[in-house]
Symmetry: C2
DNA sequence: CTAGGCCTTGACACCGGCGTCAAGGCAAGG
DNA sequence: CCTTGCCTTGACGCCGGTGTCAAGGCCTAG
C-alpha cells in the first residue's frame, strides 16, 4: 500500500503520514523506487493516532499507545504506560471541566447583570454613569 | 505614568502593553521623549483586558468591552456588543463542556476496561492476544 | 515523446499572546 | 564622564498539527 492509499483509507493526507513517521509513530518500508510501502497493521496504527489526536491527546501522549499496539495487543489502551497517560488525561479533563464550569457561572452572572441594567433607562451603545 | 509602572500595576509586562496598543486596545500619549504616558483610566482598561484574556476571550472579542469602558460605562460588560460576545462565548463554553463531558466518559470507559484486563493474567508491558 | 498522476524531500505559513534579544536614546546620580 | 535603569522600535521564536508550494523522479497510457 502506497502513502496515498493509506492516507485515503485512514481519512487523512500523505503530508500528515510523513509527519507521523518523522515523529516516530508510523513505520514504512521502501520500494526500490524509494516509495513508502505500508501494510495493514499500519492502517490500524494510523487510525489509533487519529482517534487519540481527535480526543485531544498530543503526539507525545500517543507514543505509548502505538507501542502497545505494536507489541501485539488488540487495543493500544491496555498497557501500563497507556493507562498512565489515560489517567493523566482524565485528571486534566476534570480540571478543565471545573474551570469551564466556573467560567460558565461567571459568564451567566455577567450576562444577567448586563441584561438587568438594560432594563434601566439606558438603551444606547453609550451609557454614561 | 510610564509603561513600566503601568505594567507593574496591571501585573503584566511592557511588551504586553505595547502589544495591546498595537492591537488598538490600549491608548497612550507621548512625552517629549517619545515615552508613552498613561493615565489611570488606562489602568482600568488593561485590567479589563487581562481579566477577559484570563477568562479565555481573544483579542478580537475584547474590543467591544474596551470600547464600552471608554464610552464612560463603569463596566465593560453592559453594552450591546459586549453582551453579544458574552452570549457567543457562553454558547462556546457550553459546547465545549459537552465535548469534554463526552470525552471524560470515553476516558473513564477505556480506563475501566484496561484495568479490568489488568486483572486477567497478563501484567507485563507486552501482552500478546 | 508526452501528458498526467503518483511519489520524493525540504521548507515556509498559520494561529495568538506574548518572551526575548538587538541596538540604541534619554535621564539622573556619583 | 560613566554607569544604571528606564524607555524606544523591530524582529524572530514558540507550540502542534497540518496545508501548501517548489523542484524533481517514477510509471503508465496514448
Amino acid at each position: 500500500m502506497l502513502i496515498g492509499e493509506l492516507a485515503t483509507r485512514a481519512g487523512t493526507s500523505p503530508r500528515t503520514l510523513r509527519y507521523y513517521e518523522q515523529q516516530g509513530l508510523v513505520r514504512a518500508g521502501r520500494d526500490a523506487n524509494g516509495y513508502r510501502q505500508y501494510d495493514d497493521a499500519e492502517l490500524r496504527v494510523v487510525r489509533e493516532i487519529r482517534s487519540l489526536l481527535a480526543a485531544g491527546f498530543g503526539i507525545e501522549d500517543i507514543r505509548p499507545f502505538v507501542a502497545c499496539l505494536r507489541a501485539g495487543n488488540q487495543s493500544g489502551h491496555v498497557c501500563p504506560d497507556s493507562v498512565l497517560v489515560l489517567r493523566r488525561k482524565l485528571a486534566e479533563v476534570d480540571g478543565f471541566l471545573g474551570q469551564l464550569t466556573d467560567l460558565r457561572q461567571q459568564l451567566r452572572a455577567q450576562l444577567d447583570e448586563a441584561v438587568a441594567l438594560r432594563e434601566s433607562p439606558c438603551r444606547t451603545q453609550i451609557c454614561p454613569p
